[in-house]
């Protein structure tokens, strides 16, 4: 059949234009083409899983969609504006104000406490210290890790750290959360918990989620999936 078709078979929560759209992205690293005509469409408050074998380019797709990387060709349209070609400072600003991130290994700043790590995106956005701290505490509570507030990342377990990372991703009230293998380093139980908390918190605050994973049970938490193979997307 055809190769790259963009069909948004989402649960019709949003009528009209999608919140985030990637059109036929191409991205090369040196000689290797990581993306070769990949597309993605995300509606508001929608959870989309991006699946594929390793090396398929799914992480690169996420990075381009999030404005971390600028694609070599193709468009990235967020909220109606083309953002793929913006200068790095503009894309940085966008990420600060609109997006949240969860990565596989948490990657919390080791010398800040968990609470300070969660408050970090708020402070980057200019929120005053006290308010940032309070909001961070709130989110830690929602993720059921309030008792870890004062501890250092090095002193908590993997599952706990990932929950802190999810709190950090959601604290600014982003419109899109980008999660790259969020449960990759966790065991089944911790993975389940993290996914439950992530999806329910996202749905509660109305954030859309782009979830990169190679595990079907994790992708099952999404509303639909997009398959990436050899740098191209196959959506149904």
């Amino acid at each position: 059949m055809s190769s790259a078709t963009v069909a948004s078979e989402a649960i019709p929560a949003e009528v009209g234009r999608p919140l985030l759209e990637c059109r036929v992205l191409v991205k090369r690293f040196g000689q290797t083409p990581a993306l070769d005509g990949a597309s993605l469409s995300l509606g508001a408050a929608e959870i989309v899983a991006v699946m594929g074998p390793s090396g398929s380019g799914k992480s690169t797709l996420l990075h381009c969609a999030a404005g971390i990387l600028a694609p070599d060709a193709g468009e990235v349209i967020y909220d109606g504006r083309e953002v793929g070609r913006l200068p790095d400072s503009e894309r940085s600003r966008l990420r600060r104000s609109e997006f949240g991130f969860v990565f596989q290994f948490g990657r919390l700043v080791p010398e800040l406490s968990c609470a300070e790590n969660v408050a970090l995106p708020l402070r980057l956005a200019g929120v005053p210290r006290r308010r940032a701290r309070d909001q961070a505490g709130e989110w830690l509570g929602r993720l059921e890790v309030a008792d870890l507030a004062g501890r250092l990342p090095g002193d908590v377990s993997g599952g706990q750290g990932q929950r802190v990372a999810v709190a950090r991703a959601l604290v600014t009230g982003p419109r899109v959360v980008f999660a790259d293998e969020p449960t990759g380093a966790l065991d089944s139980l911790n993975g389940e918990r993290v996914m439950q908390l992530l999806t329910s918190a996202a749905r509660q605050s109305g954030a859309a989620v782009v979830l990169v994973t190679h595990e079907a049970r994790v992708a099952a938490y999404a509303d639909r999936e997009v398959i990436v193979r050899d740098g191209r997307t196959h959506a149904r």
Binding site: M1, Q196, A216, R217, A220, D223, E225
Partner: protein, 174 residues
């Protein structure tokens, strides 16, 4: 494992006698359980009734083994539909899926699409189970998790098969 679909798929390659069809089926799909002669001819007559096959020629001599069967356009359409539709995620799914993949490869169709279609169906069911799990009691969660793990196992096999398609194509078209 639907024998009639397999026969239709085999007949797509070209007309064949009943006996040859059985041999072909046993070789490809029968593994260590060859299909009984009775079942062969029962299936063929059913297919005849539905209009999916016709008798192309009758060799002189008596007995059903002398009839040469050929697939009809309706039969081809039936195969198409069968290939295009996902199976219900089930415990003994592999053999059917395997048959589908082999037939697709032999007829030059895109086997990867079959796998993709099936994956989408699995995922759809998994999503349902996950939603049920989130709102359910602990018992619900246990039951759903059990099913989810099995479905995931299926999908893993699908991924592996998808990765091996090129190899497989070489093996089945020989």
């Amino acid at each position: 494992m639907s024998i009639s679909k397999a026969f239709l798929g085999l007949l797509e390659d070209g007309p064949s006698y009943g006996y040859d069809l059985k041999r072909e089926y046993d070789a490809r799909f029968g593994l260590d359980r060859p299909v009984a002669y009775g079942q062969v001819y029962a299936t063929l007559s059913r297919l005849l009734k539905h209009g999916f096959v016709t008798v192309e020629a009758i060799e002189p001599g008596d007995g059903p083994e002398r009839k040469r069967y050929a697939i009809t356009p309706e039969g081809v359409a039936d195969v198409e539909q069968w290939l295009g539709e996902p199976e219900r995620p089930d415990l003994y799914l592999q053999s059917t899926l395997y048959a589908k993949v082999v037939i697709a490869l032999r007829s030059g169709r895109e086997a990867i699409e079959i796998l993709d279609t099936q994956r989408a169906e699995h995922l759809r069911l998994m999503r349902e189970l996950t939603r049920r799990k989130m709102d359910g009691t602990l018992v619900d969660q246990l039951v759903c998790d059990h099913a989810l793990f099995h479905l995931e196992a299926d999908l893993r096999w699908l991924e592996l098969t998808a990765a091996r398609l090129d190899e497989l194509a070489g093996a089945v078209t020989a």
